[in-house]
């Protein structure tokens, strides 16, 4: 078991290196730092001096892989690849264009992101599973049919409309909560209610329908027939047998997302003005702040890989067939 986990952990290393190489290639090889500088400075200000200054400010003036001018180990370390890519493994992300330390910014913004993302994750999972169970309990009736139609309709609405419509209706027409913003401590509650509800609703259709298929597949299994032959009621069959088996793929499938909750949601945070990592990313994209985007790609990948690891662990916990073998 421990050996297995260590092996999985070791497997994560080449993947992270791969991610690093891809981002490096994307940011420094597809376009040269000169290209980036030209674009950032705008047509009017492009002079060779301005470009050099822009590069020097950001440390992009070094060679990509091999610094012949430096001495000793500096030949390798005083390069863009080392400074900008390898240092990320040490969680050193450098500075954003506005001069702030990215790592510090990330630490500060994690809280608001989690304040929204965690309730969305938990409530969303609960709502979708409950709704799917309801449909399965009434399977092959009109209620089930109507529920599936509702799910498909909900899936067909862009999340943008959920946000815009929800903001307009709840905040603007009904004045129940502030349209956007964020507060410290408990005062944050009134700001996060609406984004949470909207996120849960926006994801409900697709996941409820997916879980319903899982439940229905499980319900055709032989052991369900055995349970019925014991004389168990349909409700007990559903909760004690079907749910327990279906939860294994559902929960382990959800576990992979848990670490990524730190990243927050781009859209929700941008719309509701929540100062989390999602809005940080969006701002960076809009401001074309390459350093921040690079850092977020790296962190996002690392968290996803962590999620894969957690998935493996959760499988071994949830499924006795794997736990005991």
């Amino acid at each position: 078991m421990l050996a297995y986990l260590i092996r999985r952990l070791l497997y994560a290393v080449p993947i992270l290196i791969g991610v690093n190489v891809i981002t490096f290639a994307l940011f420094f090889v597809v376009n040269t730092p000169d290209d980036m500088a030209r674009m950032q400075l705008g047509v009017k200000h492009v002079t060779p001096e301005a470009i050099e200054k822009w590069k020097a400010e950001r440390g992009y003036d070094k060679p990509l892989f091999w610094n012949a001018a430096a001495s000793g180990a500096g030949k390798l370390t005083e390069t863009i690849f080392f400074e900008k890519s390898l240092k990320m493994f040490a969680l050193d992300f450098g500075r954003a264009d506005d001069g702030r330390d990215i790592a510090r910014e990330i630490r500060q913004r994690m809280g608001p992101s989690l304040a929204v993302a965690v309730p969305v994750f938990v409530l969303g999972l609960f709502a979708a599973i409950s709704f799917a169970l309801l449909l399965v309990y009434f399977r092959a009736t009109y209620l089930d049919f109507a529920g599936v139609v509702l799910c498909v309709a909900m899936m067909s609405v862009s999340s943008l409309f959920y946000i815009i419509g929800g903001q307009w209706l709840v905040a603007k027409v009904w004045h129940l909560v502030p349209i956007s913003g964020y507060g410290e401590g408990l005062s944050a509650a009134k700001f996060i209610v609406l984004p949470v509800v909207i996120s849960v609703l926006a994801g409900l259709g697709a996941s409820a329908r997916w879980y319903r298929t899982i439940f229905l597949e499980e319900i055709t299994r032989d052991y369900v027939r055995t349970a019925r032959a014991k004389g168990l009621s349909e409700r007990l069959v559903l909760f004690r047998h079907v749910l327990r088996n279906a939860l294994i793929p559902i929960l382990t499938g959800a576990v992979v997302l848990i670490p990524s909750l730190f990243m927050g949601s781009l859209l929700i945070e941008a719309f509701f003005g929540i100062p989390g990592l999602g809005s940080y990313t969006i701002e960076a994209i809009n401001a074309q702040d390459f350093a921040v985007v690079r850092a977020m790609v790296f962190i996002g990948s690392a968290l996803y890989i962590l999620g894969l690891l957690l998935t493996d662990i959760s499988y071994t916990i949830a499924d006795p067939r794997i736990r005991l073998q």
Binding site: A3, I6, R7, A140, R221, D222, Y223, R225, T226, A227, R228, A229, K230, G231, L232, S233, R240, H241, R244, N245, I248, D319, P320, R321, L324, Q325
Partner: protein, 638 residues
């Protein structure tokens, strides 16, 4: 006293009626067997008794009276009290019929809570020990995947017993089990029934099991019962033409040569004829049979037949098969195929670096020799390595060591085209996207498809159709035609008939015998079915846990088996003797076959062997040559 009375039960799925007008009775304490081939409606009948039909199916009409009350009139809540209480059921597939994430004990406790006067761990453990599970307290805390197939079925039985049922419905309870385990489970069922005075509805396709277990028999065909009889009357004089043909189609000892077969196949529930459903396949059909459903006719006390013939059993002698014509002995030749010390080991990888920490010795050094035009049967139970051996001989599976000689020349990698394989699953062995013509031409684009299809008993026009339009037996014929297209000398047949019904199995076996006579084919016939072995093999090799424990001519191995495992295997097969008496004195091998990853030291069979002595635990016995052809690996043969 009658416990269960079923009258005119009809089950509908859409417009089709897979069960129609079925009536029978079961007395308290009695075993009633419902026999029939796949799709005849026997399982649906059983599920209907519990009102557990699949969602698409419903009971159209009929009456089910159990212990004096009408089950079809009960509310669902009332019915639930009967289910698992007075009526217990066990299913065919123990591997999938238990909840994989619940412990055995919890699953039994659940049934106890409903019907057994409260759940308690002690009671669950008692039940487990009652069904003969060793160390029941530990097993109760284990999950289904930790139990062997036989133990899972025992646990299922324990669960069914939790409500102390008056009637136990057993739906093919041993079909998924190996023959030695089947013998154990059947023995257990008989013992429990006797001790508890339960009645039992036994559903099976195996006439041997019926002969051994049942007091009364009902034969089903295409959704209807066609014969009801006490066991002795049924086995001494089966009366419905279908029942008689079934007996004739059984391969058995002393019945070499062609088997009598049933032509055609069972009509599907969607398109059933107006008259007798068997008429189109019946060799004694009268003109009236085609359009008028036959009436029930009582021909002997307790024996009823649904047939137009006045005295059905007098017309047409049952055994007109060209029996006795033993397969002609071809002149001895040099070995077409020889296998020396062939082994296939699969690594078990563990730990940080995935180093192999052990080996699954699926095949662990076997020697075989097969002359041209002869049949060598490789016999063994599931997991003994016989299929892996077949694949390794063909080169589909890399061998760990050993050599394969084809006409004296060593083979490397894939065997030459003249060695071909016929697979077990008739549904997996044909690409559903290709027409039959293209499938047959697969290995030889210039093959004459029409002639090949004709050679395997199909119409040449069928080349234009797709596999899904064919039945299992026809698919197997197509697979054989595909192999014949490259004019092979040796066919490795991997359980080619085990997925087929008895009547279809006879057709395929006959076809194989014919092809051998016409084309001088040699067969390596891999099977678990000893009856088939007796029917068509010249030589037999018995495998246990990766090694061949006994090898010899068919007469030597089947008549005078020397290895205790061979003897147990032969004894475990339920047999029908002419008097129909059950043969209860059987040699039961205890326990389960060990895992090939950790074979027991010394002789692999010693933990289950009645003759085991100290030296058996110490070393694997060398082969003892009893005759020129008969060898056995046992310290105490005999």
């Amino acid at each position: 006293m009658t416990l269960l009375t079923v009258r005119d039960l009809t089950v509908e799925i859409g417009a089709a009626r897979p069960v129609e007008g079925v009536s029978f009775e079961i007395a308290a304490g009695e075993t009633f067997a419902l026999v029939g081939e796949s799709g005849c409606g026997k399982t649906l009948t059983a599920l209907a008794l519990l009102r557990l039909l699949p969602e698409a199916a419903r009971i159209e009409s009929g009456s089910i009276r159990f212990a004096g009350e009408e089950l079809l009139a009960l509310s669902e809540a009332e019915m639930r009290k009967r289910r698992g209480g007075q009526l217990g059921m066990i299913f065919q597939e123990p591997a999938t019929s238990l909840n994989p994430v619940m412990t055995i004990g919890a699953q039994i406790a659940e049934a106890l809570a409903l019907h057994g006067g409260g759940a308690s761990e002690a009671k669950a453990v008692d039940l487990l020990s009652a069904v003969g599970i060793p160390d029941p307290a530990r097993r109760a805390r284990e999950y289904p995947f930790q139990l062997s197939g036989g133990m899972k079925q025992r646990a299922m039985i324990a669960m069914a017993l939790a409500g102390a049922p008056q009637l136990l419905i057993a739906d093919e309870p041993t079909t998924a089990l190996d023959v030695t385990i089947q013998a154990q489970v059947l023995e257990l069922l008989a013992r429990l029934q006797e001790a508890r005075g339960m009645a039992m509805l036994l559903i099976t396709h195996d006439l041997g099991i019926v002969a051994q277990q049942a007091q009364r028999v009902g034969v089903m065909y295409a959704g209807q019962l066609v014969e009801l009889a006490p066991r002795t009357a049924f086995f001494s004089a089966p009366s419905h033409p279908y029942a008689r043909r079934l007996f004739a189609a059984l391969p058995a000892a002393g019945r070499r040569g062609r088997l009598q077969t049933l032509p055609g196949s069972v009509p599907s529930p969607a398109q059933r004829p107006d008259g007798c459903r068997f008429a189109s396949r019946c060799d004694v059909a009268l003109p009236v049979c085609a359009h008028e459903p036959p009436p029930w006719r009582e021909i002997a006390p307790g024996q009823q037949v649904r047939c137009h013939l006045e005295e059905p059993r007098k017309v047409g002698a049952g055994g007109t098969a060209q029996s006795g014509a033993a397969v002609p002995e071809p002149p001895p030749a040099t070995a077409l195929l020889a296998v020396r010390d062939l082994a296939v080991h699969f690594p078990i990888r563990r730990g940080l670096l995935q180093r192999p920490v052990g080996w699954v010795r699926a095949v662990d050094g076997i020697d075989l020799e097969l002359p041209a035009g002869r049949t060598l049967a490789l016999v063994g139970e599931s997991g003994c390595g016989k299929t892996t051996a077949g694949r390794a001989i063909l080169g589909l599976q890399a061998a760990t060591r050993g050599e394969r000689l084809w006409q004296g020349e060593a083979l490397k990698g894939l065997a030459p085209q003249r060695m071909q394989m016929v697979f077990q699953d008739p549904f997996g062995s044909l690409n559903p996207r290709l027409r039959v013509g293209a499938i047959v031409k697969e290995g030889n684009p210039t093959a004459d498809v029409g002639a090949l299809l004709a050679a395997v008993g199909l119409e040449p026009e069928m080349a234009k159709r797709y596999p899904h339009e064919f039945s299992g037996g026809q698919r197997q014929r197509i697979a054989i035609a595909r192999a014949l297209a490259v004019d092979p000398q040796l066919l490795i047949c991997d359980e080619p008939t085990s997925a087929l019904d008895v009547s279809v199995q006879a057709q395929i076996l006959n076809l194989l015998v014919e092809l051998q006579e016409e084309r001088g084919l040699a067969y390596l016939f891999i099977t678990h079915n000893l009856a088939v072995v007796e029917h068509l093999a010249h030589q037999v090799a018995v495998m246990y846990l990766g090694r061949i424990v006994e090898q010899g001519s068919v007469d030597e191995v089947m008549r005078t088996p020397q290895h205790p495992y061979t003897q147990a295997l032969l004894a475990a097969v339920p047999r029908i003797d002419t008097s129909g008496k059950a043969d209860r004195e059987r040699l039961l091998v205890p326990g389960d076959p060990p895992s090939p990853a950790q074979p027991p030291p010394g002789c692999h069979f010693h933990p289950r062997c009645p003759r085991a002595a100290a030296r058996c635990r110490a070393a694997y016995p060398e082969a003892v040559q009893l005759s020129a052809t008969h060898g056995v690996r046992c310290f105490f043969p005999g």
